[in-house]
Symmetry: C2
Subunit: 619 residues, 2 copies
């Protein structure tokens, strides 16, 4: 247990729950890393689409970012309301299920699960991608590095939600701090130069325009920019992770995240506009990220540049943490409703839903391994799930206010949110359909199907094992106890002795492979004779010949025969089980006790029970 304690921390009692809850300060890294890190790739994604417009594209950055920020604020106000209405954790699943029905709930759940999983793989691989492009000698270790980051994230999260919040506090605020300083310096220069700042490191000139401005292109740029919003729903899912009173704490966390994100998005957009920075083609050799160009233009390639770039790649790696905080909670909510395995509802030693963390880790590791740690091709799949969940959650809230006679103000906010995110889903899905979003469109129904099958099974089982409530003590006959005997020894004697305390009807079954293999003499002198003398019921010895030298099959057949012949009786098979002291003694003893137990359980019936009488070898 030493290593386990060191790695995962000492077990926490259920009563320590309150002490494990987090403050808003810890809430920002816990739930906000996904949203905040998107400041690093949201503007970049939009600008990459605008690349086709050449220099003219840069002009559209400001209105596009404005639209994204407006959508962000709509979503923000909607989720504030959701948090207040569902203080016990109003994830999209819960809200959609309770207000729009189980189908909508499952749709939201499936969409979010896929989104969270992709977030882990893409976030880690983006961070490591930035690292290896800065230090090319690490290129060949890409996958290993990705898996190391995944392992760190998963261990920290298995240590508990508070540990994760504390551990990732520093990188989060380093990221916000350095980027904030860059933006402030930049804006100061913009103002001082009357809107014509001089770039310390001039960005590469924008390419020639290859497309004219059109609605479709702008919509696609908008859809790409919207990836900046993923992760905003995270807080509403994890309200119960906060210290009491939970609602103000959750509100404060969400407000902080959205405020910072808005500031970063607006600041970056302004600098891009005034410094005239166009994206570079990610597939081409001269590629440089937008944030790198902005920082270099404002601050040159000095210490601040290095620190900012380092914090960006750190935060990209850690953006997966939001998934680790929310995915297990989502799975738990779904599993409580019997749509996923019940083990996902159990809290582990550190009061987190450990099973969900393991599942997420394993699935993400598989994704990373399959894609060799380079998940660029997964990026288009992203955001569809998140926005689908947004839409269902907002629509659910509209229904919620309607049913509970909420104010028109409430309905309006959530309604605008639903419409805006709904349109965004359509734009994203159609803009990115051929690039890979179709995979998500196929995956979601598959996940829903799986969940409904799980649900059906649990319902059938629940009906099957429903308590009958009939009084148990009745004058039931004791079972017929069958004792398979391989050879006569102290183990046999012990097993028989125990069997005879359980029932007056004991049968010894001996399998004889050879003609002269018999234990009749021992049986008579040790069992049957003394029983007769003492006036006890006399146990029977059955000897079965096995011409094909099978030892277990005849026993199983005999037990089934006895069970069939005694329709109103219960049968118990008492099996002597040798327990070796050392694992390397395994090959020295036949494992017939275990094998017979397994065969009887597999081929057996409800009226056959199995008694293991262990013999602990001293040798």
């Amino acid at each position: 247990m030493g290593l386990v304690n060191l790695l995962f921390g000492r077990p926490l009692a259920s009563s320590e729950d309150q002490g494990q809850r987090i403050t808003p300060t810890q809430g920002v890294p816990t739930f906000g890393l996904d949203a905040l890190s998107s400041a690093a790739y949201g503007p970049e994604a939009a600008l990459t689409i605008l690349l086709f417009l050449g220099l003219a594209g840069v002009r559209y950055v400001v209105p596009l970012t404005g639209a994204v920020i407006i959508l962000l604020l709509i979503v923000y106000f909607s989720y504030r309301q959701t948090i207040a209405a569902y203080p016990s954790g109003g994830g999209s699943y819960t809200v959609a299920k309770e207000n729009l029905g189980p189908g909508a709930g499952l749709l939201a759940a499936a969409a979010l699960m896929i989104d969270y999983l992709l977030n882990v793989a893409v976030g880690i691989s983006a961070g490591i991608g930035a690292l290896v492009s800065a230090v090319p000698s690490l290129q060949k270790h890409t996958l290993l590095l990705c898996l190391v980051v995944l392992a760190i994230l998963s261990i920290v999260n298995l240590r508990g939600v508070r540990e994760a919040g504390s551990a990732f506090l520093a990188p989060t605020y380093l990221f916000v701090g350095t980027l904030g300083v860059v933006i402030l310096i930049g804006l100061f220069r913009v103002i001082m130069t009357g809107g014509h700042p001089h770039a310390l490191v001039p960005p590469p000139p924008p390419p020639a325009a290859t497309e004219a401005v059109g609605l479709w292109l702008l919509l696609r740029a908008f859809a790409s920019g919207c990836t900046a919003l993923t992760g905003v729903e995270a807080v509403s899912n994890g309200v119960q992770a906060f210290r009491e009173p939970v609602i103000p704490a959750a509100h404060k966390t969400l407000s902080t995240i959205v405020l910072i994100l808005t500031g970063l998005l607006a600041g970056i957009a302004a600098l891009v506009y005034y410094y005239g920075i166009a994206a570079t083609d990610p597939g081409q050799p001269g590629y440089q990220s937008v944030l790198s160009m902005v920082t270099a233009a404002v601050a040159g390639k000095g210490v601040l540049y290095g620190l900012t770039m380092f914090s960006v790649l750190l935060v990209l790696c850690l953006s997966a943490n939001t998934s680790f905080a929310d995915f297990p909670r989502l799975c738990r909510a779904v599993a409580i409703d019997n749509y996923l395995p019940h083990s996902l509802t159990a809290r582990g030693r550190r009061l987190v839903y450990s099973q969900g963390i393991w599942v997420l880790t394993i699935l993400a590791a598989i994704l990373l391994i399959v894609f060799g740690g380079v998940t660029d091709r997964l990026i288009p799949l992203f955001a569809v799930g998140a926005f689908l969940a947004f839409t269902l959650s907002q629509a659910g809230m509209v229904a919620h206010w309607w049913r509970n006679h909420g104010s028109a103000h409430h309905i309006l906010i959530n309604g605008i949110g639903a419409v805006a995110t709904g349109i965004t889903v359509l734009v994203i899905a159609s803009a990115k359909f051929t690039e890979g979003a179709w995979v998500v469109v196929l995956l979601i129904p598959a996940v829903i199907l799986l969940m409904t099958r799980v649900h059906r099974h649990y319902e059938l089982v629940a009906r099957e094992i429903e308590a009958k409530g009939r009084p148990i003590p009745r004058s039931n006959l004791p079972p017929i106890v069958i004792v398979p005997i391989e050879s006569w020894n102290a183990v046999t004697e012990k097993t028989l002795r125990f069997a005879m305390t359980l029932s007056g009807e004991v049968q010894g079954v001996h399998i004889a492979c050879d003609e002269d293999d018999s234990i009749t003499a021992e049986w008579q002198s040790v069992v049957a004779g003394p029983a007769q003398e003492a006036g006890f019921p006399v146990p029977r010895l059955i000897t079965l010949h096995s011409p094909y030298r099978m030892v277990l099959q005849p026993v199983v057949d005999y037990v089934l025969k006895v069970e069939k012949e005694n329709r109103h009786r219960v049968v118990a098979v008492a099996i002597a089980t040798m327990m070796e002291r050392h694992w390397y003694h395994y090959f020295l003893h036949n494992q017939r006790g275990e094998a017979l137990t397994a065969m009887l359980l597999l081929r057996g019936d409800r009226r056959i029970n199995i008694i293991n009488v262990p013999w602990y070898l001293l040798a």
Copy 2:
């Protein structure tokens, strides 16, 4: 079972044993392939050493082969006597053990086991080596081809000893036939030309001499030539595989093998001498095997040449069959004496000792894989084991005759055998020590150590589980039955109902992870209340709180506590076990029944028994 029957044949009843036994005709391929195939490499091995003498070396072929044949005949007569004296299977192990003591027996067994294992790897790899040097495009599949041959040999042998004898009949007689024809033609030409035959394909000229003739070189050549004798002991080990009367059948088989081998060795030596054929260096490009040169010189490179070469490589591949016939018998003899796992003594579905075949297959596969199918480096290890076993077996026979007042004639034959093979062991071991024979010298004590450890364990166990013979029926109290209850349902009710038929003392143990988790009401209405009314002993409900949410550990602790507090009672834990109908439902139900069983068996004690009450899910 369809595939299993197709692959391994229908199960054979023990009573079918006689029908499965073999005739001398089948005995030659079964036990003789190792010995006969050595006609292909024994002379070659000797000639390769004589290479250093240049043309002069060829002159020494005849006296050297003569010496080898004399040794062969000594060994032959010795083993004839052994067969007659030990008709139940007088392998070197048995003879050495019974006459020289267990230590000598184990030494012989260890040496032979290593020899048999090497024979499989080296034989297959030599055959496939000949194949790929004839068809170079197969070179890259060397390992795969080796493993395929190994699989075929192991399947055929698992089908029974008679099947193996019949299957390998044709290749054996093809080999003897083609090589016999070549020798006869060659000798005819030698006689017709007055000792100066004309080679149809002249052999390459011998290289210049690099060493002078010396005793050490001749001894080394003799030691190499002696590899032709390995496998001669095989028949004596497997006397019981023959039809009754076994002794004449075994004698006839051994005589046939030795007669053929003598003829082949003498014939090849004569042709080598008269055609003036020197070996070519196996490491060099122009390498050609001695048999290939002899055949080409006598018969040209026509159909007969192709057929002969084909039969040689076939027989090399199949020479491993001798090991498959003998290794399992040897292991069985050793296991009966408790020096190896008892499972090696069990006869499988086809009346062969299947476990030994599996062990040999797995070990040989590992050797082949480790060496990539090219086992040249293992060849020097070879023959040490075989000759060591020869020597011990002969020496054992001397002691046998001495003790049983055998005739001087008997003692003399076995005595000469012992001395001759003993000297050969020393020559081989010292000549090949640095080439790798030291590995065998280290391996043999390691194997012996392992066998004595196994023996010690079995002795301790036998003493431990020795039957006490005390009368079993006594007025023992029934056990205290503990029923762990996770939640109240029909499964719980069934388990409790069964427990209450076994004993008046039943305790329900409920683990409560939450404050409000209680089953007191159900217990009172379904169990305790009705029991009180009916005047039955009232079972107790124990509720244990688990602040750390562990479910199984508190149950185990409680059971151990009850066991400790009731020194003279036996405890039984009745565990409800959910049996899923489909494997893919595994994740949907906790496996706590199985886990608790395992934990109790591992941490439990002699007075704790485990009762599995299975519930077969219909869903």
